[in-house]
């Protein structure tokens, strides 16, 4: 995308065990746009002859117009992006960064905001809390971590917000008191969660059982594209066939082949990469959070950032 910004890495800081914060400042100088808490950017990294594009939540103050910051956990089974950032990225390197996009914005009508983070899921909340504090809105953060050593931003957030920040370290035997959290909250409280899928499901289920309305529940379902068996896709407009590798998403394979489909989140949430399925023999493995169950069953549309295919023929309207 032509409007993407060239940004230089100006700081690399290990925030916690296995979590590296990256500060990026525009090469051309000048103030960056402010952004909204919960926003992410897609960062393009040149890694040898591969271009990796990953979405990361912005974890700095949205009013800091001099730079953007992301924090990246070293993935146990990295597809390449987190390993690149932890092992090869250096201060002075230039990355290409897209405009901030928000698929996890706060509901500004809320009387109170309860934030529940697990591990690296803390990142969108760092920016949200800066906004809430500036606007004088009521909020509290409940942050579940494996250990204090793995709790990125814990110290700085406690310094800034004091008792509004609660940390639960598993190795100390502390657990998120979910049932207590969702009880007796003021009417109009909104609940946000980001972290491992299991944690988010537990948070949402607990709130639903306690009678919370769906509109008050917000979850950030960002995930890396799932690996799987290789397959090939045929492009209806050119007849071209493109091979998709086991650790590659359909979107990434198309980009590597010089095709540039539209995308925003690369995490199966926004719907921007919805592509019409012209023909298929086999099974589409829908990995997104966008299509309805009915749409999945029909398989007339595929979200190419997250979905895979098993079968002998898949033709897409590309």
């Amino acid at each position: 995308m032509s409007d993407d910004l060239q940004m230089r890495v100006t700081a690399l800081v290990d925030e916690a065990a296995g979590i590296r914060r990256v500060r990026l400042e525009p090469v051309a100088g000048g103030p960056l746009p402010a952004f909204s808490g919960g926003a992410h950017v897609v960062v393009a990294m040149r890694d040898g002859d591969v271009t990796r594009r990953n979405p990361y939540s912005l974890c700095c103050d949205p009013e800091d117009r001099t730079g953007y910051e992301i924090a990246v956990a070293r993935a146990a089974a990295s597809r390449g992006g987190s390993a690149f950032i932890h092992e090869r990225l250096a201060v002075g390197d230039v990355l290409v960064v897209g405009a901030p996009t928000n698929l996890f914005q706060p509901d500004w009508r809320a009387k109170k905001h309860i934030l529940v983070a697990g591990g690296i899921g803390i990142t969108p909340f760092v920016a949200m809390m800066a906004q809430f504090a500036r606007a004088g809105l009521a909020f509290e953060l409940h942050y579940a971590v494996r250990s204090r050593a793995a709790a990125a931003f814990a110290g700085v957030l406690q310094d800034r917000y004091g008792p509004r920040v609660k940390i639960y370290a598993a190795d100390e035997g502390a657990r998120l008191p979910l049932a207590v959290l969702v009880q007796n909250q003021p009417l109009g409280t909104h609940l946000y969660t980001c972290g491992p899928e299991r944690l988010m499901e537990a948070v949402l289920d607990t709130a639903r059982q306690a009678g919370w309305p769906e509109q008050a529940l917000h979850a950030e379902h960002f995930m890396a594209p799932p690996p799987g068996d290789p397959f090939s896709v045929t492009l209806a407009n050119s007849g071209r066939e493109v091979a998709v590798g086991p650790d590659q998403s359909l979107l990434e394979a198309l980009e590597a082949a010089g095709i540039n489909p539209r995308y925003l989140c690369r995490g199966g949430v926004c719907g921007e990469c919805a592509t019409r399925v012209v023909e298929f023999r086999g099974t589409i493995l829908h990995g997104d959070h966008f299509l309805t169950p009915e749409e999945r069953a029909e398989s007339r549309t595929i979200m190419i950032c997250m979905s895979r295919f098993v079968g002998d023929r898949l033709v897409l309207d590309l």
Partner: protein
Amino acid sequence: MDTGYSATHRPETFRDETFRGEFSYANSPENIRHFPFPFHEDAYRYSVNIEPHVPGRPGSAFEHLIDVDEHYLAEMADRAQVLAEDPLRYQALPHMMLAQWDTLELLMEEQARAYPHLFTLERNGDQWRWINRPLGIDDTFTFGDPSTLPREPLDYICRQTQGDIALMDQRDGNLWLDAGMITAQADWSLDFDVGMNFHEWHAPVPLAPQMGVFDRALKYLLNLQLGKPVRRLNWTMTINPRLDTSPENYPKWGPDRTTVTPENVGQKVHLRVELQSLWRLPRSNGMLFVIRSYMMRMDEVVTVPKWGRRLPRVLETLPEELASYKGLSRYRQTTIDWLKRHDDGAPTSPGIFPD
């Protein structure tokens, strides 16, 4: 911020005119060519026609992203009068305060960038100074602190910007019309629509829901990106150059439609074009919708030969449902007949700009 910017469209004088009473509104020859004529071809075709809102042809209404022209002072005076008579033309639900500040910043930045001889924005951290020379305003305030401005931020900046402004909140996979200042509307009302979602406020538009137009448009808008505004043109016709054609004031302007005669078409009938732009707002993730209205009477339209040929041809092909929705039915044929006298039958060139 751009420096040394030299614009082609650089209004220095502003017309002393009215949009009511004696209706002294008119366009100078330069401003006629500035007008965003909305028809690309000789036939009417329904489309959502959204395109990137990027600076366009010098001298045209597309040159700057927020356009200021010779009607600036007169429009601001008319707006102040409408608001004095009906304060409900400005409304902002309490959760829209961040979006209000976003909008103030955007409108100040764009106007100061495009027209440095008219507007200046100085920023020193949160301490901002805004100078509006045409209106004689020089205010210093703290960005983010409403108590440092004489009015709410949206109210303040909308009284200094041409065009109606609607602010939308994004939530639950929809857009909600939760704030705005609407004083120059083509027959709709902020007071009726405030708090409605995208489907609710579009419900009266004929044909489009069955075509799925609004589902597609909403999906597109929900993914609108920061720094990549989009625009579209919409049009209707107004009898007499009346900016305020609100439902509340229907008794004032509705009867005008019965006054069109073959003799007065050139003076009375106005093509009214809305240059609508949509912007993702940074801090609130809300959406800004600017509806800038331009009016040009038929006498002025036909001074551009291409437009004089094309307009009657377009009006002839307009489906009756749409003519009725736009309120043109009663005087459409009279207008076509008058315009046809200016159509020599020659072919027109593609696109909207004069030859």
